[in-house]
Symmetry: C2
């Protein structure tokens, strides 16, 4: 597949879309604003992505890039996961976009459910003792990790923003560790 001239435009639109969705959520991120950011006509967005929903689907194809936990010492999985998430969240705002849209939009919530099912569940299966408890334990982890993202990047609570990476790992690591590996309470 040779590179087309329009690829740059496509990429610019996707970039602008990610920023707007992350900053404004689904409804307030208008096609016109995205087009303006990408220095392009709104009708181009339609031609390339069909509709606003199509644009959103193309813009946030989220890959959590979760690490393989097999080689990680068993008592380190919690800290490893928390560290990975903090890094991921700090370095791009795609996650904030999915989270924000997931909170407003039914399609966004569905997408978040898919990410949970296809990316977090398998990892939890690697380390959970009882296979039957995997969904519940993974859900508890999701609650803690997404809750951090929510308070830190969406609601922007000052004390949540002030915590450093190492502090977060130290506080949340044991929690995730317990949710994944501790015997049921």
């Amino acid at each position: 597949m040779t590179a087309r001239r329009s690829d740059a435009t496509r990429a610019a639109i996707l970039d602008a879309a990610r920023d707007r969705f992350a900053a404004d959520g689904y409804e307030r991120a208008t096609i016109r604003a995205i087009a303006r950011d990408a220095r392009i006509d709104p009708s181009m967005v339609m031609r390339y992505f069909g509709s606003k929903e199509g644009l959103f689907a193309a813009a946030v194809a989220l890959d959590l890039r979760l690490p393989d936990l097999a080689p990680v010492p068993r008592e380190e999985v919690g800290r490893t996961l928390v560290g990975h998430f903090v890094d991921l969240w700090e370095e791009n705002d795609e996650l904030t976009a999915v989270l924000r849209v997931g909170a407003t939009n039914e399609a966004g919530a569905k997408r978040m459910q898919g990410i949970f099912r296809e990316q977090l569940l398998p990892v939890a299966r690697q380390v959970c003792p009882d296979p039957e408890q995997v969904p519940a334990r993974a859900a508890l982890c999701a609650a803690q990790l997404l809750g951090l993202a929510l308070t830190r990047y969406v609601l922007r609570l000052a004390p949540a923003r002030a915590l450093h990476r190492e502090e977060l790992v130290a506080w949340l690591g044991p929690t995730v560790q317990r949710y994944l590996t501790a015997p049921s309470p």
Copy 2:
């Protein structure tokens, strides 16, 4: 102050507004839809509440009704708080409304920050050992508790919905307990 005839209408509007804000978030919850639910003309909403922002402010005047933790045994504060939150969330959708709007709307986020500052912080101050650490520890609790609400009521992850009250208290109680009272890691 005697009861006016319009109080019933006012209440109907507020009820409908809470439902819509909780279900749809700020932007998609239109004044017209709220008025339709309340079987009233959209212009009445404006007359009584001035604007859409005014309506939102009046609809969700959120009081968490957090319990006084002084008489609670020190090792039970985590479980007590988690139980209280689960109850609160189950019995009305005002919280879902604030959370959802907080995720879309700048004013909503501000309101959430206010709730954190004026309602959660004082309670944390009651049980935290070091006053200087109170904001950080309260933020960690907020992350865990709001994360639960997010996955359970907004994103509607199936495994998060499946957990019962006692399970949630048993899993999250120790986490909140640790965030509030354990020595810094």
